[in-house]
Symmetry: C2
Subunit: 636 residues, 2 copies
């Protein structure tokens, strides 16, 4: 893999910057975008008579309407400036938000003026094509064959997850439909109902092809869930990590499968799916004859950034096929961390061997000595993505694209026929592949989103030298932040002592931590303290613009995380009884996506500032409590 | 209703214009938006050290990255200019596309720089609030009580329809769940299974409240479709107009209900639901004990703009409740024409009586003498929207908002509890009402869309004097176009004669028409001719920018429209046997949304130009055919 520094990306030049440092360029390009469009309109049939004249434009009601427009925009601007969250700043370390790529903002605005609708190429000749290109690029990043795979944009990861479950569900019912249809029943003549309900996805895809060759596909499809509805019990269980993002509960509801058919998978102490437990659950289900609708693995859990052992899930499926002759669908929810697979592939889109990868990181200073990333098991998980059936990935998270841009990628495009539709008026005379609305969950969609993602991929290819350089900055900064928290000094505030605690070494770039008061050995006290810290580090205590540091928070409960949070509680010195009584740990949660802290000296200064901010917040909390005590005393 | 011309909207001042006439204002406001944001960033903690310095910015790799950014934007601009469709021009009369409101484009761009995510108020303190305001405004436009109703934005009408069917489905299963749960069974003790499966929506909503008062709601909900999945047969049938937009077929698939549980409703000759047939079908189902999952009425069919008799559907439900003691859910798909309800309400949001409305139109010259709009039955349909359970409406259609902005409005917000969810990390410490992602189908969504719609509603209130003025322009122009087509002269081209035919007087602003060659009495020949006309009036024959007129087309088939197209075929003089043999009529389809033709002299000039364009296209078709004949002769 050759890599010339001349052609490499300067990451600081990709963003408008925390002080709008690239404002001259940004304004110039925005003016370019507007100018191009304005003249495109003006030059369309210039022979036409004038429709709006200067005389009309200077009439009072015309001016009045323009003044009102300006007034509304000023009001909006005032509201935005007063209450928006400064995601662009390194002072924001919370949700998966950071500055967005200038090229994407500009491409979006440029394209939105043409207002294409990617429902159909007829109303989006350019941007439908761009969306198909983007889908192929994402497929290639995950190691899929771009010729065989299929990918497209969605409004977000939630809808992408729905679509993944939709194809999995209809796929699951297809072999039964093949058996129920006289003209195709012979294709599965030797198979039992158990076999039909546990067929390998690839075998079902071959049944799609076989029924299409006989001209019977549509008749069979009418007998699948699409035509007759679902029989929730019959289709078996969806195995989802216990920390399941609520989009999976919504998905089971919406798709008519019922939330009770989710089997939660226990987590290990790193908040990854416990692979031993998974194997045991699957073996039990195989032996009991309970079909498995699918297994969901998460690459980048929403609350911890943890990476499930995808390789182990793939291996488990292979074992089941050999041992039991039964299989299941695998969908990976990589909404959060999916773009990080660019860090594992070269410019030729090929996965790099682990040692070559580390050598490349060191050579390019992508990830410096002393930062242990990726952990080998994280590498193996990302490597195995090429073997799963479908993947959710959000450009609007680690793609640094403005909202709303999700995506789904499927390994084998034949699967799309299970859900595709056609409507005469939109797709008339059109190439099948260009009629996105007929092959996806959504209908109308902004072509400008496709342009925004396409432009970003042009500028930052989905490889270690493109997006990899952008994403690595956050990963390195997160590692530094985690280590700094681990070795942070104790805060002394009015005679009370507080200690920072790192929850765990992150798999990706999310740093979870808490503050603990030394001497307070109650989890209730701990949780209350961190809620107060969050209060002062969020929009809850006033304008985000007035804050020096903004973060997010979450509650890790037994209900949603099993025994995983107990490890952290124990590590902080809480007695086991505290966890038993409280059953939840409230934590602060910082996705380190900013690219601006990836400079050792700058990070050190930032960290010192952060310590001072925490101290001020603790001071505030101590004073609030003292005030409350005085007030209560006064009342008594 | 008072109405001062001083404060009225000048519609020409709302849009950039077909020659970018308002470019000075648009550029100024775009610069304002960018400037405000740039300085917002720069003023956030100005004491921080510089992160990007001019020295760095002049480094070769920094410049190189900016040059590449510019290069990509130029490529994108070139592609957009070469292939985009000039929706902004009155020369485009096809899909529901026209110029978009400047204030919305500007508000979108302004807000997107702050990148809010309306999944949760924590990451969109401003725009979540704007979305809630927009939802209330839309609810009020439809005649719902804004205090009781619930509305929000979606990525489009398709997703809004899914959500409507989702609540309808879960509502349908709730009474059975009440009966199945020991602690609530007494609430429905006297009711049979038939009663439970045919309960009036309002009665189910009261059961929600009753179970909540007992603290049993969540347990009951777990026994509804949400928890246990669907039993497609048991829930009965969804009644959908035969011309059903394919989103309803997708919806039945996705929601696990099965497409075979759609009952198509015959259409009358105006492409509206045949209300006599609907009554008969419903009576048969009531007598047979088949539950009705819901009835879908369409306000603005996608292919004809026809308006279903919503009032008759509401009356039918009332009759069923009295006659049979059974009821059903009513959802209206007003994705297309929903915003036109603004034409029926005054500034006080109250529905105007028909005669008062017409008097107002004449007084304000909103709709002039000679244009018969609305037909009384269209008025009655729009009036009755206040009585249905939920409504889909698309701001990105007749709201003149850029893609993608759909919406759904529900009459009674209690229904949301049937589908709502909570995720700890997003909604922590937040007001319930502000956690949109927990109460809707989608998750992450662009806050900028809410700003775009909000700004439009601020500038053009949802009343006859706001949006009404904008929408009326297209309606009047469509009426003029329809009449011009009806009385158009015969085209004489190389000895062949062609006649324009109007399909019907439109309910809204969509004008469907065809060309027929006099002497060719075959529908096959007719359809082929109009396919050729479409070819030369679309992107199919080359760059849209090179076209003088652009339209859309569709096929009206017996399969999707029953006998409705036969009326048009007969009206054009085709024998009944032609329809029997061909079973489809290919038509040209022009949504007249442009506001620029609402001037009689301008329209006349446009129409003469259009006649000349049709003549040129026919000339081209005749020459193509002659060339083909010569070539075939030469080969023989």
């Amino acid at each position: 893999m050759s890599h010339s520094k001349d052609s490499s990306i300067n990451v600081d030049a990709l963003f408008l910057g925390p002080r709008s440092e690239n404002r001259v360029f940004f304004k110039e390009m925005m003016a370019f975008a507007v100018g191009e469009h304005v003249h495109w309109r003006a030059n369309y049939h210039p022979e036409d008579p004038a429709l709006v004249t200067p005389q009309q434009q200077y009439q009072p009601d015309f001016r009045h309407t323009l003044y009102r427009t300006e007034d509304i925009l000023r009001q909006l601007s005032a509201r935005l400036k007063a209450q928006s969250v400064p995601f662009f700043s390194p002072r924001y370390l919370g949700h998966m938000n950071a500055d967005t790529l200038m090229v994407s903002n500009l491409a979006y605005t440029m394209t939105a003026m043409y207002n294409p609708n990617n429902c159909a190429a007829e109303v989006s000749p350019v941007t439908t094509q761009l969306e198909l290109e983007v889908g192929q690029q994402l497929a290639q990043m995950f190691g899929y064959s771009p010729e065989k795979a299929w990918g497209h944009l969605t409004s977000g990861g939630t809808v992408a997850n729905y679509e993944g479950l939709w194809v999995a569900r209809n796929l699951k019912t297809f072999p039964m439909a093949i058996a129920a249809h006289q003209a195709t029943a012979d294709l599965v003549a030797d198979l039992s109902e158990q076999d039909l309900l546990n067929m390998a996805p690839d075998a079902v895809l071959d049944l799609i092809s076989a029924s299409q060759q006989r001209g019977e596909f549509e008749a069979v499809r009418d007998l699948s869930a699409r035509g007759v509805g679902v029989m929730p019990g019959q289709l078996g269980k969806l195995l989802v990590p216990q920390s399941k993002h609520y989009s999976w509960q919504k998905a089971m509801d919406i798709l008519g499968l019922g939330q009770q058919n989710i089997v939660p998978l226990p987590l290990d102490e790193n908040y990854r799916t416990d692979i031993g437990a998974l194997n045991q659950i699957v073996d039990e289900m195989m032996q009991a004859g309970t079909p498995i609708l699918g297994v969901i693995a998460v690459v980048g859990t929403t609350e911890e950034g943890s990476v499930d052992p995808v390789d182990a899930v793939v291996a488990l499926r292979e074992r089941c096929q050999q041992q039991y002759g039964r299989s299941f669908y695998i969908h990976v929810d990589a909404a959060y961390a999916g773009y990080a697979r660019s860090l594992f592939v070269g410019d030729d889109h090929q996965l790099l061997a682990y040692d070559d990868l580390i050598a490349h990181y060191r050579q390019q200073d992508t990830i410096p000595e002393g930062v242990q990333w990726p952990k080998p098991e994280v590498y193996s998980a990302f490597a195995a993505l090429s073997k799963v059936d479908s993947i959710t990935v959000d450009p609007h998270k680690v793609g640094y694209i403005p909202y709303a841009a999700g995506a789904i990628v499927m390994r084998d495009r034949r699967i799309v026929d299970l859900i595709s539709y056609h409507a005469a008026y939109v797709f008339e005379g059109d190439r099948q592949g260009m009629a996105l609305g007929s092959s996806i969950m959504e209908g109308s969609k902004a072509g400008a989103t496709a342009a925004a993602v396409w432009a970003a991929h042009q500028l930052c290819p989905l490889s270690v030298n493109g997006y990899g350089e952008v994403i690595a900055r956050g990963i390195v900064s997160a590692d530094w932040l985690a280590k700094a928290i681990e070795s942070a000094p104790v805060f002394n505030v009015d005679g009370r002592q507080f200690q920072l605690n790192l929850m765990m070494q992150p798999d990706f770039h999310m740093v979870n931590f808490t503050l603990k008061e030394l001497g307070d050995d109650t989890l209730v006290g701990h949780n209350a303290l961190n809620q107060k810290v969050y209060h002062y580090s969020s929009y809850l205590s006033g304008r985000p613009y007035d804050k020096s540091f903004l973060t997010s928070s979450t509650t890790l409960s037994r209900h949603e995380h099993g025994e995983a949070p107990a490890h952290f509680a124990a590590q902080m010195g809480f007695a086991a009884s505290e966890w038993e009584n409280t059953q939840e740990v409230y934590i602060l949660r910082a996705a380190v996506m900013t690219h601006f802290l990836r400079d050792r000296a700058r990070f050190e200064a930032y960290w010192q500032e952060l310590l001072a901010i925490f101290e001020r917040i603790l001071q505030q909390i101590v004073e609030d409590e003292a005030r409350l005590v005085r007030r209560n005393a006064g009342q008594n």
